[in-house]
Amino acid sequence: MNASIIGQMAVSGALMGLVYALIAYGFQLTFATSKSINFGQGELVMVSAFFSLTLLNLGVPYWAMIPGGLLFGAIMGLVVERAGVRLALEQKSEGWILLTIIIGLFFFSAAENLWGRDDRPFPTPISADPIHVLGVDVTRLELSVAVGVLAIMGAIELFKRRTLLGKAFEAVSADRDAAELMGISATRTVMLSYALSGAVAALAGILVSPITTVGPTMASALILKAFSVAVVAGLDSGFGVVLIGMFLGALESLASFYLGSGWREAPGLVLLILALAVRPTGVFGKAIIRKV
């Protein structure tokens, strides 16, 4: 096989991998502050995509729809936090695992009833025509995914490092009890992390929908990969998820070309098993020393 095909498969895979990275980043945001993960993150991606599509159908211009969609995602993130996570965290239980799954299922049924089960196209002003770069065809749509993902991740990282609220976020991530003693409200910070995570999920939905179409089951495949990426990269490295996301995307795409399309899902699972067996903190994760 010639090099251009390998390049083509690797590049289009890696660009899709950035969507996994973005969803994995959503996992990281909430894990940092509350040590909890929204297992209904995929449903958040889906309902936000449907909501954004509804805005478009109501005649809202594309660029005005994006903040609307992000706001909706943030609100849905807060709903998950209030209805599921906070209750469990207050009782210091692991109940958030089941609760977030159940809220996700609720979102799924609601979406089926509100918008139906069909896959629908998601219009975008960004052209799907390919551009030829160094022997590889890339569409502007795929590039927009890369730009969108890196932009929002960059913005959130800047916010965490440069603003007072962001510093509070980092403080709670580092040591919740110490942060509370310094007068930082851990509850509010957890709420903020869920809102951000919801907005990130919404952006993932808006970016990926023009490529994959919108439907109630659209995120089920994405979410498994995103989870692999989050675990393999480590649950506290934003930089790591980008690299691992792109790596996994490229690997999947190459596997489906060389081994056959049925083998597409295999690399993600193999990576996940390897990571859990060899390095449970993730490739880029920090080993936490617990003092007893």
Binding site: N2, D118, D119, A128, T213, F257
Partner: protein, 417 residues
Amino acid sequence: MFKQIVQGSLLLTALGLTAGDTVKIALTGPFSGGSAPMGTSARDGSKLAIAEINAAGGILVGGKKMKIEIVERDDEAKNERGALIAQELAAMSDLTGVIGTVNTGVCMAGDKHLQEKGITKIICPAAGSASMTQWSKAGVKDCSIFRFAAHDGIQAAMVVEEAINRKFTKVAVVFDSTNYGVSGRDDMLDQIKKQGSKLEVVAQEKFNIGDKDMTAQLLRAKSAGAQAILIWGIGPELAAISNGMAKIGMKAPLIGGWTLSMSNYIDNAGKNGNGTLMPQTFIEEPITPKAKAFIDGYHKTFKVGRIPSPVAAAQGYDAVYLMAAAVKQAGSTDTKKVKEALEDLKEPVQGVIATWNHPYTKWDPADVTTHEAFRREQTVMGMVKDGHVVFGNDADRERLRKSALSATPAKIKGKKK
């Protein structure tokens, strides 16, 4: 408790009485999910015909005009749902017939329950060859299952001919992993062999329902030098193929089963779908007064500007008229008598696709075409053009117009026997 039982049985008797005054026909199919454009179109086309018949007073059965009563069931394109629905329908004592089913797998899973009870079913619009060949393979002596769709055998022959006529020599055969896709692949490979292997199959690629990224399959086809893609699948994944081809700059045309006219293919593929070719039994163009009335009626009744699947809608419409003609000829709502009448329809039935002159003959397990209504001449090549399906060539338009206006010649095979 006793009172409830008495009330219940009284209610049942009352229902039984009303059911006796109607012709009960079940309409089944996927009304949600990826196959929904076909399912809802077939159902709504059928409903249009039923509304017309009922508005005219109903069907004359043994000197009494009887209205048609509809039983509607959504199989969600799921084989297990289809089997459950078929079991439920088979248990109904007063059912005259069933019209429907889009997915070949659903036919395979459910129709055996209907066949066991001898319930007359007209499959519409499922085209997979396996839905009918399962009965000939089983050597069934008396088959109550009929089909009203251009089966994949006809379609595959047309697809292969089209590729040869366009002077292609290397093609990729691409199909989905369902019963429908695999049986379509077999039909295409069979036809390629029959044509003396003028086409070389340089790649055989499979995809799954729900797949969005087809780059791997397409790149393999492209690097093997495929000049055209012969394809069997349904709307959403077909669109993913079209969009994937545009992405990797593959200019080869897509030629495949009639499902390439589904609205969810046309919409999701957008301009990438232009030039796609597929066999059709009905094109949404008012080529005859009857076609015009049908198209306008559908648009008005269901408030759409375009029929989601014109082929399925027109077939559903004509299938109801065939069933009604059989009920009238049998002079009975008994499903077994209707079956016998359907096998020997004396009067031509004027439909929107064609005038159906003796469409079915007595079942012969050695020849599935005895229960197939469509022949090559009722099928034309359609082409996607700017969001609509148009005639692939003008000669076809004329042929379909003639076929709808004048009675089709009676089937030669049927006459011989």
